[in-house]
Subunit: 189 residues, 2 copies
DNA sequence: AACCACCTGTGATAAAAATCACAATCGGTA
DNA sequence: TACCGATTGTGATTTTTATCACAGGTGGTT
């Protein structure tokens, strides 16, 4: 039943069966409706999230306009690491893009076991490095490529993203106007 | 003599005196002339670098045009973490922006001690998280701000950068043409 | 001082993208 | 089927930025 959950955790870092069970015992299950917010702006993030069904969208609210920063689909983790690490209010919002089921791993609950289970420390740090490397990869798109090249990069390296989210959401993610992305897409026929 | 070196390391993660000495024993000192390359394109990065004097510039070579990605000044670490982690050739070049003195911490040399000195593992991971969070912070400039806002953000949060590097280097770092940055700067009088 | 390499400012023009406006399409539903 | 809301395509226009060209300026070196 929660075998996939176990697989997704051990994909980050190997844990003993006992440690796995202990970690999972701390995971809380949450059901979110489309548009429901998991982490509010200004709220300190105290957990990382694993998506079981649906997807989570992270965005920045710039004067009422939402700028998409990341998407996490089935089997992927997400969090606001800056907020967690610095214990500061989140600049970003994490919300459900569809009806979504997530596992919530509360950091405080887990950190209680850091001394007795050093593998937990490793797991959390590996997860952080993985999330941050992915974030760096994505953000280099903006430094190194033009809007059209960014779209082609997604087409090539992350095509499932195009199936799951609307053109408008993708335009915000790629940092271009919806109309511009529509024209880019038209050119590539 | 190397008290500042010790301080810069313990700023990342606390180590015992013995561990500090062991770590420092693995650090190699390198002198670089202006323009000398520390990490070549295609080379696998196997170390992290601590700048003692001068500065290191990381850039991406796009069809002969250098696009600046980061600068590390006195007391700061840098590396190509993606290359280290995935053991893949670096897409980026790290070179000295001035006559520069660096401490080179070879990962393989240090990892030998990971089992006997778990604090080394922690140190490396903390360093990685710090570098990646800084990288994320910087890259959000591109998603969230216009060129003029980016420049003002640097003026406010990192003014020493403007003292140390030329307008041309800064323009490449901010992702705008040199002329555009000159005009932005003119407007802010 | 004379020279040179490099950097910066600025005008003119071209290219790219944003914005505005509106028509067309698609799904779900009464 | 007819309606409604959300999404997408597309033309016209404006705004922003890049590109090109060139004129100072600066600092180091001989």
């Amino acid at each position: 039943m929660d075998q996939t959950l176990r697989d997704q955790i051990t994909d980050i870092s190997k844990l003993s069966d006992e440690e796995l069970s202990l970690l999972i015992a701390h995971a809380q299950n949450r059901q979110l409706k489309k548009g429901e917010i998991l982490l509010h702006e200004g709220e300190v993030c105290r957990a990382f999230y694993l998506v079981e069904k649906g997807y989570l969208r992270t965005y920045y609210n710039k004067k009422g306009v939402q700028i998409n920063l990341s998407f996490a689909f089935e089997g992927n983790f997400t969090a606001n690491l800056k907020s967690i690490k610095n214990k500061q209010g989140s600049e970003f919002v994490i919300e459900a893009g569809e009806a979504t089921m997530v596992w919530v791993f509360n950091i405080d609950a887990i950190s209680v076991h850091f001394n007795t289970h050093p593998q937990f420390t490793l797991f959390v740090r590996r997860l952080a490095v993985r999330l941050l490397l992915a974030s760096e990869e994505y953000s280099n798109l903006f430094k190194l490529y033009t809007p059209a090249e960014r779209y082609q990069h997604i087409e090539k390296n992350n095509p499932q993203l195009l199936q799951r989210i609307s053109l408008s959401q993708m335009a915000s993610y790629l940092g271009v106007a919806r109309e511009t992305l529509s024209r880019i897409r038209g050119k590539n026929h």
